[in-house]
Amino acid sequence: MHKLQHHSLFPIVIIFLIVIAVNAYLQPGFFTFDVFQSNLASFTPLVLASMAQAVVILVGGIDLSLGMAVTLSTVIMAATMNDSPSSVFVGIGLSLVATFAVGALNGITVGYLKLPAIISTFAVSAICYGAALLIMPQPGGYIPSFFYEAYQTNIASILPVSLVIIIIGLVIWGFIQRRKIYRYIYAVGGSEQAAYANGINTKKVKLYAFLISSIFIVLTALVVVSQTATGDANMGRAYTLNSIAAVVIGGISLQGGKGNLIGAVLGALILGFISNIIFFANLSSFYQDLIKGLIIIFALTLSILPTLRKKALA
């Protein structure tokens, strides 16, 4: 138990259990399969977006273009897809290209040009928004029903597709974990100078981190477009700050180099449950955002408690 308490994920798991308990109390039929599936389906986009954000924050950066990169990707899909399966592949292919181009642009500006990430990714965000507006000035486009309905189904009637997509994300991360780039992301985020002194190409590591992040951004866009079944240039904005909040609640240091991607997943789920709690508590809509903000501050405080205690000892 003592050892468990000192695990870096310990406070997050506690918060996670608390919000589940409150949510289960308020939401009728919380433990039924249908509710589980619908909750999961609505939480999945933020979970994936937070994984994307986590990789960038771990390397010591921050991605303010994330929401708009998701938007651009969904708009491209909605603009190119029709009822033919080939158009679906073209749509996904084009949005892959666009997302990786955005990742490369971020990686080059932050890594090679050494621009401060908080400003340069903000600028890239504007570029993405502009491009999305050019493609689709008004919300619209078309997503074939076989595509978006697939997201609501269950494989072998027990495995929701949304869960499968999260698992795919985790498997990709598991693969990366066994490669050098994984350790270099932590090294560069933890101490860029020390990483450089060990012969690590820190610019390249930053670029790669943004490209890895792009994988998760594409997955996010796929899920978002399946949920909304439309393209809208004003849709993805909220993912940027929500993903950062999830990452920080998940115990990943904004300074980089410290934390765990699982923490980001839990952080995103916690934010999802908090939204649920607000909804099922039957609060007046005027209070919802106010209460949500307070709960997030509370969750953040809990999640940084262990670091505060350590500092007091030093």
Binding site: R179, K180, R183, Y186, A194, A195, A197, G199, G257
Partner: protein, 504 residues
């Protein structure tokens, strides 16, 4: 047989000559001591050999070939590895991850072979600290342990030439012996070592020969295998002057006044440990000795208001103090020169002027608008008093030598005319000349009536400068020595004596 020869290396930074004429020969399987004051050029010189700095002129011959390396990685490939003073470890990674960082063994498919990395790390780490787990994160290690990880990592890459830049600075005596044992093992395997240190006994113990730098030039070499290990000769080569102790013994104690300055009663520094009580008179210089980690640093931190004691009383000039915050101590005139000057003592990126006037802000004597003219005049006065070189208040502190940085840390307190000056190992990483100046300043302050409480890891240093030395053991004063009864044996005996034995 010679492994490396450097001939007439030159380097200047923006018109300032850092190195005028650097020459050195490394013999295979020998330890070469590289000596010189801070700013003598030895640091620039060793950075050239390890590929960090590109020389403006001169030649380096390595293993029979002209060496021309543009970066540390190429030097590493040639077999030259330098262990830097400022550590190149990532705090959030574990020991084993750090030890193979940048050269991870991997499979043909590009997957890391962690098991192999762990074995390499274990093999080399156990030469130094067999009890230390390779799964510890580097941020949780002591400075000494970090230093060991750093050196073990360098050795694991099997260098032909290993450059150790002040590796012993954070180490205790027993740890230094461990390092020396590993260095002897490396020598036996024909590795050449360049060893940089300010401690003469270390040089005399481990080096086969020494090369001395002064003012950017090689001024001479002494081969210990054929010549005597003459300490006075070495010191005069380094400083260019005759060696003299900081304290002029005859006049030393005359400054002490009968008036009590600081009274400490039953102070409990840490939980479930013993208490400490003592008095210090006005103008007295008192040393804190003993083994490392016996509460010396905690005592200084408590007195400067940085940590709160569990119990006990502190009075200054008869007035009882409650120190809940460093500003309380500063306002009472009890100021600290901290152990880590880079982190706790200086604003490295700012100029000397700002660093010198900053403490006045805490005293609230500055008023609503700053009187910069007056502050500048004060700063200039301090620069003269402690002899900061160059005497330019606009100089950015990080470009000063270690000794001059330390003078800034001491000097910033002078305009407050402190009643008690607390110093935590102020001479760490400071060369012999600057150390002497620093201690001269401390003695001068004592003569003007400031009481001084000094912790230093070097015993002889304490005996040179202090009027009395307390030996601490487990947060308790177990013995008190006067310089007249000093002997290394007595010191060590007192340091090792348990608190119980002393109580009887």
């Amino acid at each position: 047989m010679q492994l490396l020869e450097a001939k007439s290396l030159r380097k200047s930074y923006g018109g300032v000559m850092a190195l005028r004429d650097g020459n050195l020969i490394c013999k295979q399987g020998k330890v070469c001591g590289l000596l010189g004051a801070n700013g003598s050029g030895k640091s620039t010189f060793s950075k050239m050999i390890s590929g960090v700095v590109k020389p403006d002129g001169g030649e380096i011959w390595f293993d029979g070939e002209r060496l021309n390396v543009a970066n540390p990685q190429e030097a590493k490939k040639q077999g030259i590895i330098m262990v830097h003073q400022h550590l190149s470890l990532v705090p959030e990674l574990t020991i084993w991850e750090n030890m193979t960082l940048g050269s991870e063994p991997e499979s043909a498919m590009g997957f890391m072979k962690d098991q192999q990395s762990r074995e390499i790390a274990q093999t080399y780490l156990s030469k130094f600290s067999p009890e230390l787990s390779i799964d510890e994160k580097v941020k949780d290690l002591s400075l000494a342990q970090k230093q060991f990880v750093e050196i073990a990592k360098a050795i694991s890459q099997k260098p032909k030439l290993l450059i150790l830049d002040e590796p012993t600075a954070p180490l205790e005596q027993s740890e230094v012996e461990k390092l020396f044992a590993v260095m002897r093992e490396l020598k036996a395997n024909h590795t050449s070592i360049i060893f940089i240190s300010h401690r003469l006994w270390e040089i005399k113990t481990i080096c086969d020969y020494v090369v001395v730098f002064r003012n950017g030039e090689t001024v001479g070499a002494i081969d210990f295998e054929t010549e005597a290990k003459d300490e006075n000769l070495i010191v005069s080569m380094i400083s260019g002057k005759e060696h003299r102790h900081a304290k002029d013994n005859a006049s030393a104690s005359s400054a002490i006044q009968s008036e009590k300055m600081l009274e400490v009663r039953e102070l409990m520094l840490r939980k479930s440990k013993d208490r400490v009580s003592f008095d210090i008179k006005k103008g007295e210089v008192v040393g804190l000795g003993g083994l490392q980690g016996q509460g010396q640093e905690e005592l200084l931190l408590v007195l400067s208001g940085l940590i709160q004691p569990k119990q006990g009383q502190i009075s200054l000039g008869g007035k009882k103090l409650k120190l809940r915050h460093p500003k309380h101590a500063v306002r009472e005139g009890m100021v600290l020169v901290p152990g880590d000057r880079h982190k706790e003592g200086l604003f490295l990126q700012h100029d000397v002027l700002l660093n010198l006037i900053f403490p006045q802000f805490a005293t609230k004597k500055t008023g609503f608008f700053l009187n910069m003219k007056k502050l500048k005049a004060e700063a200039n006065e301090v620069i003269g008093q402690v002899n900061i070189v160059p005497n330019d208040p606009g100089k950015v502190v990080q470009y000063l030598s270690g000794g001059n940085q330390q003078k800034v840390v001491v000097g910033k307190w002078l305009p407050l005319s402190p009643k008690v000056l607390l110093l935590s190992d102020p001479a760490k990483g400071v060369d012999i000349g600057a150390k002497k100046e620093l201690y001269d300043t401390v003695r001068k302050l004592a003569e003007q009536g400031t009481s001084v409480l000094l912790y230093a890891s070097d015993h002889e240093e304490l005996m040179d400068i202090c009027d009395r030395v307390f030996i601490l053991f487990e947060d308790q004063i177990v013995d008190e020595l006067m310089p007249s009864d000093y002997s290394e044996q007595r010191f060590v005996a007192a340091s090792l004596r348990s608190a119980k034995a002393a109580g009887n």
